[in-house]
């Protein structure tokens, strides 16, 4: 017992964005956003459609490169699959194989050996409540089940940070409930979750902290309770009231 526990800082977080902008087709989609996201709690990036939420998330995840500014993780990011952050997309992309094999696929790309791969995939798929459907073809599962497989695939990688892009946008209420409970479980197990949504209900139910963005800029950032009890920007207030922005 009692091995030395003093180690070099081994965490990805905080994630820092320094004056990040992103332009496409002559349009400025993200407009000089600076931001720091630390450990703990579930961070919701909230805003109307077209606010730039998904682009912001892809910039953080590394799928897009900023036109200017920098995205800085506290640890250097390897370029191969062994990254410590993962993402789940709005529409789950299921490979033409079983649910379990979909989860194992991500682990294989991350360089995990076959035996450990199988064990971790099984654990992750059970963790999202799909143990019984593990052997089924992923593409014939329902939308909600597919999204949970996608969550399991990301979670099995044991990421420190998990990005979720509108994970329940295409789902009916009961599927939404199941996916949300899977998300809550992943968060409770210690993964930092950063989620994009335009859905106030989702933000209220899951969010600990809200970052409100509109037209590619951050207008508001506060704890979820604070945010929903009174915001300072009129855009955020209008959005909460359900007005179209």
């Amino acid at each position: 017992m009692g091995e030395a526990t003093i180690r070099a800082p081994s965490t990805l977080l905080p994630l820092r964005l320094e004056a990040v902008s992103f332009e496409a087709g002559g349009q400025r989609i993200i407009d000089s956003i600076s931001l720091e996201i630390g450990q703990g709690g579930l961070t919701v990036i909230l805003g109307p459609n077209g606010a730039g939420k998904s682009v912001l998330m892809r910039l953080c995840h590394g799928l897009l490169t900023p036109s200017s500014g920098r995205v800085i993780w506290s640890l250097p990011q390897p370029s191969n699959g062994r990254r410590r952050q993962a993402m789940v997309f709005q529409r789950p992309v299921m490979l033409r194989r079983s649910a379990l094999a979909n989860v194992a696929y991500g682990l294989k790309l991350a360089g995990i050996g076959p035996r450990e791969r199988h064990a971790r995939a099984l654990k992750a798929i059970a963790g999202v409540g799909l143990a019984k459907l593990a052997g089924r073809s992923a593409r014939v599962l329902s939308g909600g089940e597919q999204q949970r497989v996608a969550l399991a695939r990301a979670w099995a990688l044991e990421p420190e940070v998990l990005f979720l892009d509108e994970p329940t946008a295409n789902l009916d209420p009961s599927a939404t409930r199941e996916v949300e409970s899977a998300i809550a479980g992943i968060g409770a197990a210690g993964t930092k979750i950063i989620m994009v949504t335009h859905d106030l209900g989702v933000a209220k139910r899951l969010g600990d902290e809200i970052i409100f963005i509109h037209n590619g800029r951050i207008l508001e950032r506060s704890g979820a309770e604070m945010f929903f009890s009174g915001v300072s920007s009129c855009e955020a207030a209008a959005f909460i009231k359900g007005e179209l922005l």
Partner: protein, 234 residues
């Protein structure tokens, strides 16, 4: 009507009795076309996958050209391959004109565009769907390509079957570069052409029935594969 009925009866006898000439012709036909499709697949699938995923200048022109090549007339391919393989041609040294090798060569030229064009389409559609996800999971180009090929396996298999159907049923190239030599380069289509012109309808009809059966079976198989795959794998 009487002549045709008689010929049909004789054709049935040839098929049921496994007439040796008939069997030899069918065997050569299938052998040549299978070899050609194998070669076309080995060349065509990587090409299709590359064009589907890679972005390079002239890509659109390449796709237009490929789609145009789908309608390549077999006789023109036959003529070009004939010029290549003839004594004075650049590949004349090989001395394979009027052999099954020349027929395989010509049919591969005919079928490769089919494999490339159809696989390009299937893989590009899948890539559009998978790209972000695979990048997110950290798949490199080779891993992504292999994943796409595997995930498109059913549509690729039907593409290969379509290629075989085209090869086994065409007459233009094998006639020109094979020469329809009895016992050496005579295949189903060239035999049908010859026997019909000679008036030997029995053999022509027997071969025609087998060819039709083969093409029907191929199409039914392709249809079945797609159906089962859709149901089982979505």
């Amino acid at each position: 009507m009487g002549t045709i009925g008689l010929a049909l009866g004789q054709a049935a006898e040839l098929i049921v009795g496994l007439d040796s000439q008939l069997v030899r012709i069918v065997g050569l036909s299938v052998g040549v076309s299978l070899s050609a499709v194998l070669i076309a697949t080995l060349i065509g699938l990587p090409m299709g996958a590359t064009i589907a995923v890679a972005r390079f200048p002239g890509r659109q022109a390449a796709i237009v050209l490929l789609n145009a090549l789908l309608g390549l007339p077999a006789v023109v391919v036959g003529l070009l391959v004939y010029l290549l393989l003839s004594r004075a041609g650049p590949l004349g040294e090989l001395g394979i004109l009027f052999t099954p090798a020349a027929m395989i060569f010509a049919q591969s030229v005919l079928v490769t565009p089919i494999i490339v064009a159809f696989s390009r389409q299937a893989i590009e559609d899948a890539w559009r769907e998978y790209e972000e996800q695979l990048n997110s999971l950290g798949a490199g180009p080779l891993q992504a390509a292999l994943t796409l090929l595997w995930d498109c396996r059913f549509s690729l298999l039907t593409t290969v079957l379509a290629g075989f159907g085209r090869a086994v049923a065409e007459v233009g190239t094998v006639m020109i570069v094979g020469g329809n030599i009895d016992g050496v380069t005579r295949v189903m289509t060239t035999a049908i052409a010859l026997e019909t012109s000679k008036g030997d309808l029995a053999l022509a009809l027997a071969l025609g029935i087998i060819l039709m059966g083969l093409v029907l079976t191929l199409n039914a198989t392709a249809h079945g594969i797609i159906g089962i795959a859709k149901r089982r794998y979505g």
